[in-house]
Subunit: 217 residues, 2 copies
Amino acid sequence: MYIYIIMNEDKIIVSIVEDIDDIRDALRVLINGSDGFECIHVYADAEEALESMTKKDINVVLMDINLPGMDGIDCMKALKPAMPNTQIMMCTVYDDDDHIFNALQSGASGYILKRTSPAQILEAIRDLHEGGSPMSSEIARRVVGFMQKKGKPSKAVEMLTNRETEILDFLAKGYLYKEIATELYISKETVKKHIHNIYNKLHVQTRTEALNKAFKR
Amino acid sequence: MYIYIIMNEDKIIVSIVEDIDDIRDALRVLINGSDGFECIHVYADAEEALESMTKKDINVVLMDINLPGMDGIDCMKALKPAMPNTQIMMCTVYDDDDHIFNALQSGASGYILKRTSPAQILEAIRDLHEGGSPMSSEIARRVVGFMQKKGKPSKAVEMLTNRETEILDFLAKGYLYKEIATELYISKETVKKHIHNIYNKLHVQTRTEALNKAFKR
DNA sequence: ATGTCAATAACCCATTTGGGGTATTTTATG
DNA sequence: CATAAAATACCCCAAATGGGTTATTGACAT
């Protein structure tokens, strides 16, 4: 028995995981009909992909999210460890925040929508293979919006005085009252008083609640 | 005295903040020479921009980061509140993580590099004005990498048992021992024991330290 | 000058937390 | 079946936390 390993430095080797026959076929035809690309395998569901894909030398996986059984995001999570050099591009109809963030946080490097034109899909595959993260600018806007939310303290925190904010930062680092006191050259009781005031302003009773309210996470 | 307010629904109104004369002029000529765009003002530094820009009706600001005096990111922060409907695009030579994240977290919606071609710059401005977040796919990759780091628990957490992980999640929400106990139908002492084991595995002494170690932030 | 706010500090007291044990039961796993 | 790991539970005890209260000081505005 012989095992042939496909190695072709000229072409970008692509695999497709997509349950809808027409779309899967169209993508394969598109990719195989274009110079510099080769689609070596297509899978109709996650389970099938997990069985046969891992041992192959794939540059880029086009992964649908909505699959029967295991979804594309979980499939990607399962594939990733076995193929660390393969780039995964989500290619789906979902353009909501949850799917986008979930996919990108779980290891996808590109995210395109199915309505993307054939030329742009090829462009995106090449981009991905060359180390970029292709995504339409609407998708990018969602991602940027996400970062902006994360970076901002809540409004309630704006009610805090400078000293209180300073002490809140120490709390976030896990300092004890007495450590904060030493750090700021004030008494432990004063630290406690400040923290008490912080809790009143934020309407919380404990350190962790305060941190959760102050830095949304 | 009459005040003329420029309102032109056909054109995208652009302002430029850029200290290098040649680049500033080139951008203005590019924008004014293109259908559908109009550059109504250019500024050579942040201070000048802050004085005169706020009262005008601008769709898009092209902002350099490296300016003499106040930098472009601080300038943007100062401008934002006064012009909430204006989209800001950073247009700079910096492609390092710090500048990118700082700019996007602080309110920029687009981020392009100065080596972007004229046609792409116009495309990006239109994109931005239509609600997208234009950025090159290298920049996007940085942003995606950032999200992937944030979302991942540290390796140490993988040593925890299922029950321990479950309890750690309650800790993160700020639950008291007894609340966790009630929630899981186990005794408070057992919760304490689990938490004690968690602290041993993570080499920490307090709740906050554990959370900081478990979910990098 | 009067009043408010921020920061400082102290006191009492109950609850919570966490370190050190030990022990039983349940669940995997060989 | 035997053994290990995980989950359960309880004990003692010291330290940390947080609620409530009162008081002094300096700064700043009315």
